[in-house]
Symmetry: C2
Subunit: 322 residues, 2 copies
Amino acid sequence: MNKYLITGFSGFVARHFVEYLENHEKPCMVKGIDILRPDFNINHYKNVKISFENMDLLSKDRIKHIIDEFQPNYILHLASFSSVAFSWNEPVQSFKNNTNIFLNLVDAVRKLNLLNTRILSIGSSEEYGTVNKEKLPLREDDRLNPVSPYAVARVAQETLSRVYANSYNLDIVMTRSFNHIGPLQNSVFVVSSWAKQLVELKKAGKSRGRMVTGDVSIVRDFTDVRDVVRAYYLLLHNGCKGQVYNVCSGSGFPLKDIIDMMAGQLNVEVEIHIDPRLIRPADNRIIIGSNEKIKQELGWENRIPLEQSLQDIIKYWNTHTN
Amino acid sequence: MNKYLITGFSGFVARHFVEYLENHEKPCMVKGIDILRPDFNINHYKNVKISFENMDLLSKDRIKHIIDEFQPNYILHLASFSSVAFSWNEPVQSFKNNTNIFLNLVDAVRKLNLLNTRILSIGSSEEYGTVNKEKLPLREDDRLNPVSPYAVARVAQETLSRVYANSYNLDIVMTRSFNHIGPLQNSVFVVSSWAKQLVELKKAGKSRGRMVTGDVSIVRDFTDVRDVVRAYYLLLHNGCKGQVYNVCSGSGFPLKDIIDMMAGQLNVEVEIHIDPRLIRPADNRIIIGSNEKIKQELGWENRIPLEQSLQDIIKYWNTHTN
């Protein structure tokens, strides 16, 4: 029976990954790890037997003990302080809770000599940093030029992955994951936050409203989380050791278009107010990735169009308040 | 009066840097920091008033307090677990004691808003990693491909330096320092270790002996530590913010030649035995740097030829036992 260790288990990506296992994998076991307890019932799955450990990956002895006991075939390392904004304010915390937690994890696997445990290290499109328009879409062999503390931490994680794969012979595959969206995403993330605000407007019976945002002319490449977790499953099972893969849709949309699409779906009108305090230093204007590598090597494709994702996110906020 | 904060104060580079200040700087103050106490008398300098703090840079509150109190004009960050071999055995320790200590240091400067404090971040030629012969000599804008945990930590430090310089406006200059040698260097480093062994052979009245080594066909670029500290002084005073500079001689020598030169100077014969256990994984065959940038921008040059360095190292071991 396949055993999956999932860090960052209480986040929305893990939840979707478990859904994927429930529907597409043979009966399997999952050990979830997170500093926060999951807000869903881990016992309601038929196909997936889940246990949970409430812990901080900065405790290196504890993570080693858990891995030794569970002996996972697969490790999906989702745990991350993934907010770029947070990293500007608390660079040391951000760095430790990205790079150092990963380092503790892979070093535990090294010390236990689990050379057949496949690890998927999740990275970020932020690693590419500031790039010229003519370099788009971003490809895996492009030069990395991280501009935020968060991005530096992610690059360090990827570089460590390479050393652990090439020199210690650990079975690690890496991603550079672009923005992902979908139902269940926390409303600290923009698209989810906007959907929530628009739904609240609609629920209040208003047909127009005001929204305070950062710079909405920037362009991002969004993938539905359900396509993302399928990519992670494929990479865990068939990705090439030591290789890095973009996980992205290959298309870019200005954030403003996202707001307009959702407002259109809800049939409300929105006036956007830019708050300069919400504009980040050194932000990238346009991020669009190439997904040729993962398509060609693994036959992955992004199936859920943006409109569908946004509709499902709105549906989610219609029935939830957080 | 200029105030210099020097981390890694008890190492041999700091000692030579203080000698340089004693002979070339106006009266100045130095605050030394190290986890080990210095093994020399810090009060015997006329020109340099030294105080010392015995501390670990992983204590971030303490380093912040010390910087706040001392208000340095210059920070020379020499502290490092600089052994590549150690990093293979203890990657987590190596990473923390390179990257995390640096991060604590620069983040303290950021929080104290000391935008006029010039910081010199010492990096390593190891950052370049494995390169093809035709790419030599290594230039600052070459792609980095670190292959050891130590090298990854150094790359992370340099990337963090860039973010702190460009986005937080800290006044940081970076180096990639190649191998340096000279009197006072600890005998855990190869050249110093060989010199010590050869001197002991000579002292024992023998004219021939046996030496156990790793791979001595690899080529390295050696600079005398006294040239290195002059480079650091120039970079602290005139280096360009946010820029990285190679500190190297521009010439490569096989390690075997170093042994032969020293044996020749001592008039002893040596038989070399290669111990495969001393050969590191993923070691670079040839490392030679270009020093064009620091020469052109700062007028630095390496003045002490290799033969002279080796002679002085031998002279040092003639009068010291550790």
